[in-house]
């Protein structure tokens, strides 16, 4: 009896404003408020508000049989509070249905798991507090930034009391195994690992509106048919995708909302199928095997390693200079400083410094900068100012 688990990742970066050399020591407003507000408003109008309304409608219509999960970065929560309180309220309305699970992730949408276990833990802790505060939930499942994962990440996540961790399913570590079962990370005794069903998730997230795709146009009954093909081959079908897929990456005109409106009926037509949140699915299905992933894996589309964020010298220099600040930030213990530092840790800043290697990288690559070099020099100006203030503060 396979279960379908939707998990939507919600994130929008704080884009930095062009920060000139002459601003060093003079201005500490790093963010491009106007751009961030207008993008946040636009995403809220096109995606968050209509899609949340649709999910609410589906949950009510199916009386508990349609269930989904969400993972919101702390960075997007900040921006929802600032620029789109109406959208934040619609997420809270979903939380109140009891059919929506909220996961934890790093508060700053950061790569802290790679650089500092302490910082990783405190960002998770902070995110946990906010989930309780905003949605009244104590998350039991965890999803790391960009699906960055290995045995070590699993160990920390288990130690922090989570019962489920999410990862990308395209890892070579999976070898012959299918992502449609629940696994146990090597070295863990309770934690369960849920893997993204690569192909089915991307059918919706990337291929849905592609006219070159043989399955175009994708209808809900066709897709439900593909899911039914899993019967006997799997227990969980994990459809993990960016929430901005709905209305932003796939415009409303592509029919994506109609597709989602029709999908639950089509899936539930077969009594062997149901929808579960990720933790519910992890609870229901037994561990089928242990997975040993000693090296870092991350979301696909970014390559199998971390090179999209830490592949070149610019990224390595920026990350090093950023995490060098940790001791000083901890020493100061100033909430404002910590918050600024965390926002600078957003993986997006490093991603903009990525030099796309292949043609497919170019198409999906979005950046507010003209070149990766500009992304680097601008970020380093901001970071230099942050460090100047950090030292000045600590010498006070």
């Amino acid at each position: 009896m396979p279960s379908v688990c939707f998990c939507f990742e919600v994130h929008q970066p704080y884009r930095l404003r062009p920060y000139s050399f002459f601003d060093l020591g003079a201005r500490n407003d790093y963010e491009d408020v106007q751009q961030n507000r207008s993008i946040m408003r636009s995403v809220a109008e096109k995606c968050y508000l209509p899609m949340n309304a649709l999910l609410l409608e589906l949950i009510e219509r199916h009386q508990g049989r349609f269930r989904v999960s969400f993972s919101l970065s702390g960075v997007v929560l900040d921006q929802l509070m600032e620029y789109a309180p109406d959208a934040l309220e619609s997420f809270r309305a979903l939380a109140r249905t009891g059919c929506v699970e909220f996961l934890d992730e790093t508060d700053g949408h950061s790569l802290a798991s790679i650089f500092s276990e302490d910082e990783f833990r405190s960002q998770i802790q902070r995110h946990r507090e906010r989930m309780l505060e905003l949605f009244g939930q104590r998350p039991r499942a965890f999803r790391n930034t960009e699906f960055i994962y290995n045995n070590e990440v699993a160990r920390i996540v288990e130690e922090m009391g989570y019962s489920t961790v999410l990862a990308d399913g395209a890892s070579q570590a999976l070898d012959w195994r299918s992502p449609h079962f629940v696994y146990r990370p090597r070295g863990c005794s309770n934690l369960k690992l849920m893997l993204k069903s690569e192909s089915l998730s991307d059918d919706i997230a990337f291929r849905f509106s592609s006219r070159a795709w043989p399955a175009y146009p994708l209808m809900a009954d066709t897709f439900a048919g593909w899911l039914r093909g899993m019967k006997g081959n799997g227990e969980v079908i994990n459809l993990f995708m960016n929430y901005e897929t709905f209305g932003e990456l796939q415009w409303a005109e592509t029919g994506i909302f109609d597709f989602m409106r029709a999908l639950p009926d089509e899936v539930l037509r077969d009594p062997d199928f149901d929808f579960l949140t990720v933790s519910e699915a992890a609870d229901r299905y037994p561990v089928r095997d242990e997975l040993d992933i000693p090296w870092y894996v991350c979301r696909t589309g970014a390559g199998q390693d971390l090179s999209a964020w830490l592949g070149n010298d610019m990224q390595k220099d920026a990350a090093r200079a950023l995490y060098e600040c940790q001791g000083m930030v901890a020493y100061l213990g100033n909430d404002e400083v910590t918050k600024t530092w965390r926002r600078l840790q957003s993986s997006d800043h490093l991603y903009y410094m990525n030099v796309p290697q292949s043609q497919d990288g170019g198409a999906a690559f979005f950046s507010p900068y003209k070149t990766p070099l500009e992304a680097y020099t601008n970020f380093m100006n901001v970071l230099a100012d942050f460090r100047i203030r950090l030292f000045a503060e600590s010498n006070r």
């Binding site: 050399f21 002459f22 060093l24 020591g25 070149n312 010298d313 220099d317 680097y376 380093m380």
Partner: protein, 442 residues
Amino acid sequence: MRVLMLGWEFPPHISGGLGTACYGITQGLMEKGADIAFILPSMKADKSTPGSYLRSASGVPISRALKKAVEKVQRQQESDEFSHLFMRPVNARLNPYGSYDFGQLGIDPDVFNENDQYVEEISHFRGGYHDDLMDEVYRFTTAASAVVLEEHMKKRADVIHAHDWMTYPAAITASRLSGLPFVAHLHATEFDRCGDHGYDKIYNIERDGLQAADHVIAVSERTKQVAVERYGVPPEKVSVVYNGAFLHEKIPTFEIPELVREEKRVLFMGRVTFQKGPEYFVEAARLVLNEMPDVRFIMAGNGDLLPRMIRRVAELRMGSRFHFPGFMRGKDVQHMYSMATLYVMPSVSEPFGIAPLEALQCGAPILLSKQSGCAEVLPGALTVDFWDVRRMADKILDVLNHPDMAAESLRLCQDALQQLTWERAADGILDAYAHVCPNARS
């Protein structure tokens, strides 16, 4: 004294170091009473220009007779030693009206052939430096010659003064057609711009121009030496005239934020290209930061090596100490100099170099490469071989560690700067003219 100048840059039309120098030279000469017509390939009509002596070669009608005369000169040149000068024929554009009313001034009589006075073409130039630069240089030969003859006839001129290789072919032709002496001003050579990997074509134009010139003005002893050794110009034909500095009456004061007031800043400002030696600055920065981790480095400017410099800084992991503010203009330039604890010009080859003069006026001590012409007139300046990165780092550290020493060097340089006026440069130029025209001082 009437001078017909040919140039490629003039503020505000494309203004690099060359344009700035041309401006200073004309200002200086005009104060000495010279009458100057400055001929440029193109000017934007919408911009107002100081003085009415600027002439654009764009839109100047060129008669059939003139074209023929130019072609004749060109054939002569080809049969002479000037085999490298090749004038490209330009697509003819017939224009039935407009003709010259040339008087008699010792000009090649072919120009006045009455059967050929209809306008054959009107050349247009983009000016500046584009992919079609070479084409514009060749076409400028005919158009500039037309303007020279027209000006010469309007009012008898004494000399043609051409700035750098772009205008040398035009000057040679105009000189032959008009009978006026030709003075070539050497602001930079292909060896300065590209080391030993320059374009042969440009080198050939430079060599032919310098050899054809009746007299040559070099901007430093160093440049004179290049003219003599690498272009085969007889030393007695070359005068050295240093550029002047535009002395500002008052440099605005710039508020430095309190948080960074005590920081030590080392500045590179200029085109980020081979000639300016940016990589030596980056490598020296690494050595300095090893000793003194709280110094801030700035590389202001744009150029083909900029991406490589940024990647190198990242590779050396010093991006939070090394900044790239990009191309600066106007007040930002002075602001930058004013903030600098030290200005470094590590040029691989700098015929003169105007930027350090700006830096000095804004109160920044300077460290120059020994390969910079302006070091000849700034005896107090710190110097280092551009390639000697270790020494460069040592000198930077000296300045940062010993502010008194830096202040003394700055004072000496600023004193020397007072002597570097465009008026003095104009005197030198008039002396150079005197070699080729008898009434230069009248």
